[in-house]
Each structure stands twice: as structure tokens, then as C-alpha cells.
Point group: C2
Chain length 485, copies 2
């Protein structure tokens, strides 16, 4: 059984060749409008900005040029024998005609951003079935329809007006246009994460999540993968692929439509028919066996993306807690217990080091309740002593720091956290509360220095736990590969 | 049995008289320092700002005056026969001497903000035991030690420098100074909640959570109560009291030290010996039987406080979802299922109304996937139609709105949400994502208009579920009261 699967996987590397989309040498845009309010206008604008005007062909029978680029009445009029990528943003009912032209122009990939296919049923469903047959017959890859294209450094194809692409290691796939729109803005402006490839794959007529995983596996610049999926096109292959990808980089997946109510909603959203299995079943298969980090909400998706992108993995489950408030230490200990992390006692050598900055009436412990020491020596000298003593000791695999952005703690310096993460290669997460403005400034500086802060103790602990689970997965020996050899 | 408990409860109303703290006619501050860096200086400064200088007596043997107020060498020198409230912020070892002076001056309440008592063990523990005996013998109420006093409109007693007290219906009790410090700043600046009484009760030598609950029960200005407790001084009484209070106003409780690790941490934080029972046991007793809203983290505490303070209770568990993204509708439906909320189909009369703004190829459903309609008519006309149709129908008890703060949706107007909450007396919560700056402005305006936005779909659904559970509790007939009559 295992052999068959691997045979299939290794024999079909071409499934993952998406270079016609990510590295096209020529692009035509069908529906490139001169009206700045239209999506087809934005598509062209984004391409010009990110990719350039050379070998770019707006298709518009009513205009001589669009955005300063010479336009052509139809694909067949383009003065090249072959076109790599055609982007379509016109009424669904004309799409099949355009596809015929694509075949004539030896197009390699077609990105269909128009809606009105399987997700609306009836005639739209029939058109999509025809598109699927076309892709199989011709080998021309079809991305979409009912999608919003992709955003990456060097090429933006979405119909929303995109300002900038901060470059980074996050590649995401959304079976929803939301991921090229509001979620994209959120990731960039609120989470300040850098993007490698942000992909909206819509109805998955042809190109699907498995193609994406295959591409991300080979793409060295992709460090962390997040997926929002309302269905699995080929569950078996997804399982095998994610099992492989997870060995190299984390795959964070939010499966939509895991309940009856969700399935009903998904059917009219992306035309997904079956939806996925229950969350629990997915967790037991994809989570436990294939290393996929499964989650239930969008915020959790980016909490984890931040953790994986910015922090080293914890190599054990022993949590050290440094806290400005006793209450935080208590709640963090309770939550650590709930999520199965250990809160070990301070080894005597660590205790001795902490005693040098703790007042005599306050014996240091884990959680390290640091307020009296902070008050006596200032935050930074105490924190340095604690970080050095705890991180250098094998008793601790990761740290949670609870800090208050209030006047009496304002000598805190977020950059110190990033320094110590690098020095000891152990993850440190923070929960900061207090004055909004100060908190925001600290969180920003923390991120720049290589640290992470979360909204709440529970979120912090949950992320550390999931990162540790993922670490355990990467350490597993792959029995199936051994069986094969 | 039930009779005994109520007998006890109704026979001891004086237990809840905390007027010596909340409405003192005279105050002395022992340890009122002339040094602006000292907590004792801030205490006096806060009192002057919030309460005034009349009948205020700084006690400081080394100064003639502090902050422009005449000082006295000792309590015994104060030129009044009797003093209502004495606040102490000096080394723990001198506290028993001061208490003797308090007895002589017929003091009604003593607030001890100094630390160094049961939480440090040894001599400190003995002093606290002595304080406890003193309170019992004399009837003088002791608040603290190892606490940070309280903050309310008209009187601020904490040793941190407090800028302002936005007045509102939230009363909170923290068995930790954090609640008068960073958490207080957070609640005020980030959550923008108005405060009735923010109380740090520290080691609970005498005044405890039960006194607080009794006070809040009688206090009409307290609308919502939040508690952080590391131990229950008298669990039976807490159960009976919270059962009563919960009938009138929600009691949100974060129990600390529900695990072994948490108990160890709590022992050195507030000297709490046993900690509380496991979270599950507390949930089955306090949650299920006494209506207490139990939670595990600080952020959750204020998510719920916001919900209860700003929104009407849902009177059923039928959730309507209006979303700018299909993906949001799918994930919200899955999470509703997970938390036991129903996502009913649109009744035909609602469907007909929505059809007037939906494109013909997009039949309206619940979740109401509104993007195509928004695109056609603008956000506000569509949203109004949806809100009116769904809220006016008995099929829906509450709404979740998922909105994107992106350019194409910028005609959205958060105030409309507040209007509709008032008009139909049903809760609406929002999850907004997109551009950070726009999101923040919308959340602010939403709050001002009487709405709430949460970080994430899961948080939104969780809050609605807990509010519905609380509603169910308020509808229960109280069998014990009937048994008595």
C-alpha cells in the first residue's frame, strides 16, 4: 500500500509545476478594463506595478490601450506565437470561448478570476465541468474560477488594488478570495508578516491544494504554509504530501465545513460538495499522522504563523515563566497544566543566580514572580539575570514572559527578548498588558527584534504547545520510507 | 440544609457593609511619603485628586506636610476623635503597632497595602494571623495586606499613579495587585470600559470576595462583576451569594490555582494555602448551579465583560450570520456547531426581503454571504435590509457580522450596528479584519454606538454562547427559595 502511494507521488512531479503562474514570461489579461472601478483594471494595474509592461497584453475589443499598454481585440491578435499565462475576468458564460483561443495560442496556464461557476449551480456548474475536461484534455493548467489570484513579490494578479508586498517566508492558500483581500491586509498591516505567495484558489477546477503543497515543498523561500480549505480534492494525496512537507516546514491548516452547518455554507461559497470530515477525524489523521497543525479560527492561524516564522521550535515541554504579576504566574501555570506543558521547579543553580537580584524575603521560584526584584533593581538588570539563568539551563525548553506596559516598568526594552531567543535558540513568547499605546510600541519592537507577543496567556501557551507537537513530528522516523527501502 | 444557609446569609448583612472603605468621611494615610517615587506618596496624591483634602491626614513623623496637606507624627495626633479609614503603606513589621493606634482612634476600616505577610511565610504569616485576630476581636475591618487598594469614581487608594477613572458599570475584584495596575490600565485604555469599583483584595486577612459580592449585590451602579480569585475564603457562602447575585447581574470569575502547578505559584503569591478545586469541579458547581460565568484567562474575562456591559442577552440560541466573506460564514457555522449554537435556515419571508438586494444568481441564505450584494448596492443599503429582516424575525436571537476593513467596503458605518441592537434588543457581535488603522477606528466607533467587536470568530461565538448560558440561568426558578417559603 505504502509503495503504491509513493510510486504515485514520485512519478507525478509535473503535478507541482506551477511555473506558468509564478514565473510567466508573457501575460495576457482578458477583461482588462479602462474603467478604474473595475476589477479587470486593477488586475492590469497590479501586474504593471509588480511585473512590468513588457510582453503584457491587455485584451479589450473596445480600447486601443489600457493603462498605457497597447490592447488587442482578442487573444488571437496577440503578436506572439505562444503566451505563458492568460488571466480572465469576464462574464462566466464567455469563458469557454476564451479557453478555445488559449489552446490555439499554446497557453501554459489560465487564471480565471470571474465568478459564476459551480458555486451558483445550474449553467455555471456545467461550464466548470467543461473547463475541467478542457484542462485534462489539453494539459493547460486552470487556476480558479471564482478566485482572486495570487500576490507575491514580482507578480500580483488579484483584482483588488494592492499597495505593497512585504517579502517574507509565509505562503498561504485560501479557498476563498478573502485571503487575497481582507486577510491579506490584516496579515501585512496588523501581524506585520512577510509574504512569499498568497494564493486564492477558488473553485479548484484544476489547480488545487495539492499542486500548491507540491510547489511550496520545492520552494526554498517558503518557510511556513497556511491553508484554508473547504474541501480536499484528493484527500489521500493531501495526506501523503503534507506528511512530506511537514518534515521540512510547518503546514497550518484551517479546515472549513467540518460540521453540517459549515457544509451547507460551503456549498454555496465555493461549490465544495462534500466538505471535509469532522475536525476530530482530521485531527487524528492529518494532525497526529501527517504533522499538519490543525486549527479552528483565522486568528489562531496567524498566531501560529507568527510563532513558526519568528521563533525557534521548543525541543521539550518544560516551560519557564517570568512574570511581573503573581496572578499571571498562577493563571499561566494552570493553563500550562491544561495544555500539557510542565512548569518545573527552579534547579538550585538557577535559584542561586536569581537570588542575587531577588529581595531576601522573596525566594525565587518558577513562575519567577519578579515585581519585587524589578522594583529594587529595575526591569532590565533582573530580566537579564533571569533570562541568562533560565535559558542556559536544560531544565527549560521555552519561556513565557508576562509584562506590564505601565509607568513603573517603562525601562523594559523589548529588543532584549530577541537577543536571548537568538543566543539560546529557545522560543520566548510574551503577553503584555497595560497602556494601549505602550503595548503597541513594544509589540512592534519585539517583532522587529525577532520575538512574539500574543493576546492572552492562553493563546501564548497554546502556540507553544502546538509548536512543541510539531517539533515532535519532525523528530519521528518515517517508517513508511524504511519499509520501501 | 437550604434553610440554614439562607438563615446565615440573611442574618449577617453587616458582612457586606464596606461603607468605611467606599464612603469614608475621614482618611489617614500611614506612610504618606514626601518622596514622589514612593508608593505612599502616590496613595496620598490619588486621594487628593479623587476625594479631596478635607479630613485627610498624612501620617509621617518626618514631615510637617505632604503634598500641601498638614501631616501628623502618629495616628494618635490626628485632631479628630474618630477616623473612618486608615491606609497603611509601611514595613509589615510595624503594622501591628499601627493597628493598636487604630483601635484607640475608633477607626472603622484599615486598608493595608504593604506586602510581607502570609505570602512570605515565617514572621509575615504570624503578623497576618495576629491581624486576623485583631479584626475579629475589634470588629474593625481589615482590607489587605499585600494589596493595591481600590479605584473608583470619588476615591482612588492605590499606590500607583492613576490618571483617570472612566465611570461605568464594571466592578472587579482581583486577588492580585495587577488588577489595580496593568489590568486596570488595559481595561480603561484598550477595552475602553467604564469602572464602578476596581478592587485589589490581596491576602484577604479579613475583607474577602464574599464581602465584595455582598457590596456589589446592593450597589445599583455595579452592572457586571469580574473576579480573579486564587482561593475561596468560605466556599459555601460564595456559592450562595453568587447564586443570588447572578440572578441580578453576571458574575464572571477566573479561578486561579486550579492545578497543582497553579497552587504552588499561588502559595507564594497571595499566601493562598489550598488553592481552589479543579476547573471542572468549579464549573459543575459554581457554573452550572450558581450561574457564575467561569473562564480561564484574563483576555476572556474582558471579552465577556464587554459583551455583558454593552449588549442585551440573547434569549435563544439561534444565530444569524452576515458575512462579507464566504469563508467567514463557513468557519462561523463550524464554530457555532462546536459551541452548541444553531444556524437556522432563512425563513421564506426573510429570504424574500434579502432577494431584493441580492443578485439573481446568488440566492440568500444563512450565513448571508453578502459580498456580491455589497458590490452591487454598497454595504449600508444591503446591511440595513439584512439587519431589519433578520432581527425582526423570531428565527434569530443574535447576530454575528463578519466585516472587512478594506477599500471596497469603506462605506460601512459602525454606528448602524448600535442602532439595530437598540431597536431589536438582540445582541450583535462583529469580527472585523483588514487594514489595522481602519479596523481600530471602526471598533472604537462601534463601542461608542453600543456594539462590540472581537478578535476572531471563535471568541465572538464563545461570548454569545456564554451570554446565552447566563440568560438561561436568570430564567431558572429558584427552588430553594420556594422550599423556604
Amino acid at each position: 500500500m505504502a509503495q503504491n502511494i509513493f510510486y504515485y507521488y514520485f512519478q507525478t512531479p509535473s503535478m507541482s509545476d506551477l511555473s506558468m503562474f509564478f514565473e510567466p514570461k508573457s501575460i495576457a489579461v482578458v477583461g482588462a478594463s479602462t474603467n478604474p472601478k473595475k476589477g479587470g483594471h486593477n488586475i492590469l494595474k497590479n501586474i504593471i506595478k509588480s511585473w512590468g509592461k513588457e510582453r503584457l497584453y491587455p485584451i479589450n475589443p473596445k480600447a486601443d490601450e489600457v493603462l498605457g499598454v497597447k490592447a488587442y481585440p482578442s487573444l488571437l491578435d496577440v503578436p506572439e506565437e505562444q503566451i505563458d499565462l492568460v488571466i480572465i475576468y469576464i462574464n462566466a458564460k464567455y469563458v469557454l470561448d476564451i479557453l478555445k483561443q488559449c489552446e490555439k495560442k499554446k497557453v501554459r496556464g489560465v487564471l480565471i478570476e470571474s465568478a459564476g461557476f459551480a458555486e451558483v449551480g445550474g449553467e455555471g456548474k456545467k461550464i466548470q465541468e467543461e473547463m475541467e475536461r478542457f484542462a485534462k484534455r489539453t494539459g493547460i493548467r486552470i487556476w480558479g474560477g471564482n478566485c482572486m489570484g495570487y500576490i507575491m513579490d514580482g507578480l500580483i494578479t488579484t483584482f483588488l488594488d494592492i499597495k505593497e508586498v512585504p517579502v517574507g517566508g509565509l505562503s498561504l492558500v485560501g479557498q476563498s478570495g478573502y485571503f487575497s483581500g481582507a486577510i491579506y491586509e490584516y496579515v501585512v498591516t496588523e501581524r506585520k508578516l512577510g509574504i512569499r505567495k498568497a494564493c486564492s484558489i477558488g473553485n479548484k477546477t484544476d489547480v488545487d491544494e495539492n499542486d500548491m503543497l507540491g510547489d511550496f515543498l520545492k520552494d526554498d523561500k517558503t518557510e511556513v504554509i497556511v491553508l484554508y480549505l473547504e474541501s480536499f480534492k484528493d484527500g489521500r494525496r493531501f495526506y501523503e504530501l503534507s506528511k512530506e512537507v511537514s518534515k521540512k516546514k510547518p503546514v497550518i491548516c484551517l479546515p472549513g465545513a467540518t460540521s453540517e452547518a459549515g457544509k451547507t455554507a460551503a456549498a454555496s461559497h465555493t461549490g465544495a460538495i462534500a466538505g471535509s470530515a469532522s475536525f476530530e477525524i482530521l485531527e487524528s489523521i492529518l494532525g497526529k499522522q501527517a504533522g499538519v497543525v490543525l486549527i479552528r479560527d483565522f486568528e489562531e492561524m496567524f498566531d501560529l504563523a507568527e510563532g513558526f516564522l519568528r521563533l525557534p521550535l521548543p525541543k521539550g515541554n518544560n516551560l519557564g515563566i517570568i512574570t511581573i504579576t503573581g496572578a499571571g504566574g498562577v493563571v499561566a501555570s494552570d493553563l500550562a497544566y491544561q495544555y500539557g506543558l510542565k512548569v518545573p521547579s527552579l534547579p538550585s543553580e538557577v535559584e542561586e543566580k536569581l537570588k542575587t537580584v531577588y529581595p531576601s524575603w522573596m525566594p525565587p521560584k518558577n513562575p519567577a514572580d519578579s515585581w519585587p526584584a524589578f522594583e529594587q533593581h529595575g526591569v532590565i538588570p533582573v530580566l537579564k539575570t533571569e533570562l541568562e539563568a533560565m535559558l542556559s539551563n536544560d531544565a527549560f525548553d521555552m519561556l513565557l514572559i508576562i509584562m506590564a506596559s505601565i509607568k513603573v516598568a517603562l525601562d523594559f526594552n523589548p529588543e532584549i527578548i530577541g537577543e536571548y531567543i537568538k543566543k539560546y535558540n529557545k522560543p520566548i513568547v510574551m503577553w503584555i498588558t497595560g497602556e494601549k499605546e505602550v503595548t503597541e510600541e513594544w509589540v512592534d519592537r519585539l517583532r522587529k527584534s525577532g520575538g512574539v507577543a500574543y493576546d492572552g496567556v492562553e493563546t501564548s501557551i497554546k502556540v507553544l504547545r502546538k509548536m512543541y507537537d510539531y517539533y515532535l513530528y519532525t523528530q519521528k522516523k518515517d517508517l513508511s520510507l524504511e519499509e520501501i527501502s
